[in-house]
Amino acid sequence: MKYHVLEKENIDCFIKSLSKKMKVYAPVKKGNNNYAFEEVKSSKEISMDYIPTILPPKKYFMPQKEKMLDFDLSAKEPVDTPSLDVEEIALFGVHTCDLAGIQCLNIVFNERPRDYNFLLRKEKVFIIGLECNKYCDSYASCALVNSHLPNGGFDLFFTDIGDRYIINVNTQKGEDFIESIGLPKANERDLSGVDKIRDEKRKIFKNEIDVEPQKIPEMFEKVYNSKLWEKVGEKCLSCGNCTNVCPTCYCFDMEDMINLDLKTGARVRTWDSCQFETFATVAGGENFREERSLRQRHRVYRKFKFPVDRFNRFFCTGCGRCSRTCMAGINLKEILKEVAEEAKF
């Protein structure tokens, strides 16, 4: 592991050097305690102290609307051209919960048949993480899923130790950039500063549900047919906000869009939501997940049970966005507490 130092007064220099090479996206304050990843040119625009952004950085890996193919209708035979229009970008200030989210998507889209769009897009993203020194708000549950500490998934990772940032270099790409701007190496005192921050964090970031993470899938096995899902379903408005803001939700729809020339068009992938009423409906009219309660149950199981069976990890990063954004006040942490209670854990 290599560590470098950036004095706080030089952060603007860092951002400007980076933005000379590629577009830089970072958390920007939007008012009412809302933040969003947006393009920045200087450090003044960046909010270094932010709670999870409205949308997670997945929008840079799997855009809300993404062209998968161009097609030409004027030919007698079908003609298609898979295309990808993507430039090199940097994501600055990604919290550990969102790094975990990107890792989850990476696993899914690497599974065969692989998704070339996601995988090629991700190669173009330079990821710079940023450690949370304090707990963001009561919606978060990052300590439960252990995403409050860095677990890879970045090129560079910033930890604020007071007067300076300690930068953990994780990739050659990261190393090359650090060398190009000539940052000094961290010394013993700097590294112990990082350790001190982590020790402090262990005191603040406590397992929110008080259930051992390894036991969570077992806990969910017991409540599959519980009445608690009906209670959640009664509140739910099926708006799809929770899945849109989720850093690991990737369900999608495909749509054919025809251009104004009526000859050419594109197959477009758009975000979809398992919370929408017709999500599991087939053309014959049968709806295989008609009840809101079952759709909510499906969402939660896709975070804590199904991905554990399949990929041996949670697809909840504890960011708290789903609860923060829910208009009906459905709170994931409360659901987890109820599940634990009912399963007698």
């Binding site: 295309s83 054919d256 068009g265 197959r267 979809d272 049968e286």
Partner: protein, 276 residues
Amino acid sequence: MDIKNSNWKIRKAKIINAKQMTKTEKWFDIQLSDGELDHEPGQFVQVELFGIGEVPISICSSPTKKGSFELTVRAAGKVTREMHKLDKGDFIAIRGPFGRPFPVKTMFGNDLLFVAGGLGIAPLRSLINYVMDNRREFGKVDILLGTKSPKDMLFSDEIGKWSKRLDVNFACTVDRAEPDWKGNVGLITSLIPGVNLNPERTYAVVVGPPIMYKFVIAELLKKKIPERHIVLSLERHMKCGMGKCGHCQIDHPKNYYCCKDGPTFTYDEVKDAKKL
């Protein structure tokens, strides 16, 4: 990794024959421009009509038929209605084949009981014709077929041939008869008690509308056929075919993707699903 080889890329295909089978079902014989489809019985393809959309359709021909493959399409939605307007000589775009096929090899040496309801005969036909072409590999073969009325019967010429074969026991029934109908009238479940079978060495392969499964499976279990010997093909909206888009996930503790883990399942795998 080159985007030109994206898994979303289509295979060009030409309709070399087509026939309106009933008011709502049309049959297509399709040839790919890049060679064989190379599928197995029970798999499906995605049919794309550029500018309209894409639909998953079961392959209804056996892989033993070379050179082309067949689809039977019910006009049920936007894309399938548009597809009904296509004819011999027209081109379509294909992705696939996708899905876990019927467990053909594990069925070798066993007796087979096919139960098809309505359009369920389409995916099942890929397996029935495979069995007919490899008849020696299997024991006794029973085919039970149910349709709404005699005029809704699909593949009637072919079914006529099956019914005349000495190595196949064939029975069919209609929900509503017409004056010239000489066969059985009633639900398909009424045919099961009459089948003479050895449950331990029988595989029952059942394909039909969701409503049919519950009742047919109850009859098969009464016959003592083991749950893992009852094979189903489930219907869901497979939008990507690659186990990603999420639409086809089954409401089951195991959250199977119907497109990748299925569409064929044994009953013991999916019996906890809310709807089959």
